[in-house]
């Protein structure tokens, strides 16, 4: 089998997920040996126009240039991976703040925002709004282990299988007492994709939802919970929206 051709692409982002690739210090040379890294501007000079087996795309679409890159990469790639929570669910930049997009542009740039319009600056969006996504690797940033498992699977010619449970399962497997029932904190665990090993609740702070919503919650977000005993769902959703507002808009939970 020839080496799979891969590319790492950053749209508008914090580059944290691309950094996680470089953070695989022990495996870096092996990665370069087993894959042909065709493009990775953050770490390697040069640009590549050819076809790819796999493209890892980080970040959100925040202006026309992002969109052009995304569409171009999609055309050239067999498998397109939404790399990180921003690409997959919108992430923090597409957070639903109490703000009006145009007013915010004015606040930051002053009155002359015409040039932004000319550039096609747009409200930040996850990439599945524009192109087909073959696989989602969530996380803000992605977990190093999951990234390496993904590479190992790709090397075998398949996509990996991650068993996505609610984060609570990992929290309980770490034997934490529940922060909702014991501390009355707003924890996103019940609605969030597992895979981080419950980093936050294991330290003692509630999950912020950085790995995005579970598939089911996406489509079936009508669960209501006892307000007296537990946590009203709306409060949790409001917090979830920091990292995945666009996903909630689709599921009909916006404005709640």
């Amino acid at each position: 089998m020839s080496k799979p051709k891969v590319g790492f692409f950053g749209l508008t982002s914090c580059a944290g997920d691309q950094l996680m690739v470089l953070n695989c210090e022990d495996e870096l040379l092996k990665i370069a040996g087993e894959f042909e890294i065709c493009e990775f501007t953050m770490a390697i000079s040069g640009h590549y126009d050819g076809n790819l087996d796999v493209a890892f795309v980080e970040g959100i679409v925040a202006h026309e240039k992002d969109l052009k890159t995304l569409e171009d990469v999609r055309k050239r790639s067999k498998i397109l991976v939404a790399f990180g929570t921003c690409a997959a669910y919108g992430g923090l930049p597409s957070m639903e703040g109490k703000f009006d997009f145009n007013a915010s542009l004015k606040k930051v740039y002053g009155e002359e925002t015409d040039f932004l319009k000319k550039l096609g600056t747009r409200r930040a969006s996850p990439i599945d709004r524009f192109v087909k996504v073959d696989f989602v690797l969530p996380g803000c940033p992605v977990e190093r282990d999951e990234f390496l498992i993904t590479l190992a699977s790709l090397r075998k010619g398949t996509l990996p299988e991650f068993f996505r449970r609610p984060l609570c399962c990992e929290c309980k497997e770490k034997e934490n007492v529940c922060l909702i029932t014991e501390e009355g904190e707003v924890c996103c665990g019940p609605l969030t994709n597992s895979g981080c090993g419950a980093r936050c609740p294991s330290l003692g702070s509630p999950c912020a939802g950085c790995r995005g919503p579970l598939e089911e919650i996406h489509f079936d977000a009508k669960a209501k919970v006892y307000e007296t005993m537990g946590m009203p769902l709306e409060k949790v959703v409001e917090k979830m929206k920091n990292f995945s507002a666009p996903a909630w808009v689709v599921s009909g939970m916006e404005g709640k």
């Binding site: 022990d26 495996e27 092996k30 990665i31 390496l148 498992i149 590479l151 190992a152 699977s153 090397r155 075998k156 990996p160 299988e161 991650f162 068993f163 996505r164 449970r165 609610p166 609570c168 399962c169 309980k172 497997e173 034997e175 934490n176 007492v177 529940c178 909702i180 029932t181 014991e182 924890c187 665990g189 019940p190 609605l191 003692g204 598939e215 089911e216 079936d220 009508k222 669960a223 209501k224 919970v225 006892y226 007296t228 005993m229 537990g230 946590m231 769902l233």
Partner: protein
């Protein structure tokens, strides 16, 4: 005689004997959580704990257990077994019942040998307890244990009763003869008082006599719909349940070694993916169906298959449900209509 009475100091002797035979685990308090963790001395253990976050099933059905490792093409092997025996110290009766239920289930039809091998290797020391507001083991007939332990310890203030439940436990008790003696009349009275106090301390109870029949008739009850709307389906209740043993199996390749591990991970029938099959058909698409399934399986299905419910009343699912759902009030609502 299978029962001995001794002063509390005997626990230290017992502990040092046990630690000579294997690694000892017991209840350890860490902040608000109590967990079964390795003990280096008896003073590490919290003997008056209520409930651990995870039940002792984690020792026999570890979360994320590697079943197989695939090396090259067409080569695979079972992971090496840990030879060391383990001693589980301080398990409450509900947890002893939980282990028994799992053992019966895992032995049925095709036995689950990884589970059973670990179970066979464990030496179990039970410990008496008093209920809190989430315990309803008495309603499930699990407030005392007749089997499933090697030694059972009942704490009676300045005396301790030790009871043997296996030949090995019996041999160990005999070795302690220097410090222990036959229970006295006073010991018996204390035990009686303890039982009385325990039985009076339950604030939660549930009459399960007619439950399977009631469940047969209440499949369409509004209760399930309401629960479905309230439940996060986060799976907490299944993960912490001493008798929930469902698992999912995934093959996880390692980039560094090139090997692939076949891992079983704790699963829950509350998850949408649980009954999803190829072609996208889901046998329990709705939350309400899934919530109902969990209750039916425990209180009806298991009764039909194994003669008793697979709930021991430990209260863990009540204490860890972020939506504040509790089994007892669910069943009360269902049975109330019939009680009147």
């Amino acid at each position: 005689m299978l029962v001995r009475s001794a002063p509390p100091e005997i626990l230290e002797t017992l502990f040092s004997r046990l630690s000579g035979t294997g690694k000892v685990y017991g209840p350890v308090r860490q902040g608000k959580a109590v967990r079964f963790l390795p003990l280096s001395s008896i003073s590490d253990a919290e003997l008056s704990y209520q409930r651990t976050v995870l039940p002792p099933k984690k020792f026999f059905l570890p979360p994320g257990e590697t079943l197989l490792t695939f090396a090259g093409r067409g080569e695979w092997r079972v992971p090496d077994e840990e030879d060391e025996r383990i001693v589980l110290f301080g398990l409450h009766p509900c947890d002893l019942h939980g282990i028994e239920i799992l053992t019966v289930f895992m032995s049925d039809a095709v036995p689950d040998s990884p589970f059973l091998r670990r179970r066979e290797k464990a030496f179990i020391v039970g410990l008496s307890c008093l209920p809190d507001d989430k315990c309803f083991c008495r309603s499930m007939g699990c407030q005392t244990s007749e089997k499933g332990f090697d030694i059972f310890i009942t704490l009676l203030g300045d005396r301790v009763l030790l009871r043997a439940g296996s030949p090995e436990g019996y041999r160990l008790l005999r070795m302690l003869d220097g410090e222990a003696r036959e229970p006295s009349r006073e010991d018996r009275e204390r035990l009686l008082n303890f039982h009385r106090l325990r039985n009076e301390s339950f604030t939660l109870s549930l009459d399960i006599t007619d439950l399977p029949e009631v469940l047969d008739l209440e499949e369409e009850s509004q209760v399930w719909e309401e629960l479905g709307n309230r439940c996060f389906t986060c799976g907490n209740c299944s993960i912490v349940c001493p008798t929930c043993s469902c698992f999912n199996v995934v093959d996880i390749p390692s980039f560094a070694s090139g090997e692939t591990k076949r891992v079983r991970t704790w699963d829950s029938c509350l998850f949408r993916s649980y009954a999803l099959v190829a072609g996208g058909h889901n046998f329990r698409e709705k939350r309400a169906q899934r919530v109902k399934n969990r209750y039916y399986h425990k209180q009806k299905g298991f009764v039909e298959g194994f003669g008793k419910p697979s709930c021991v009343g430990c209260g863990r699912c009540i204490s860890s449900c972020p939506a504040g759902i509790d089994v007892v009030s669910v069943f009360k609502r269902l049975t109330e209509a019939y009680a009147k």
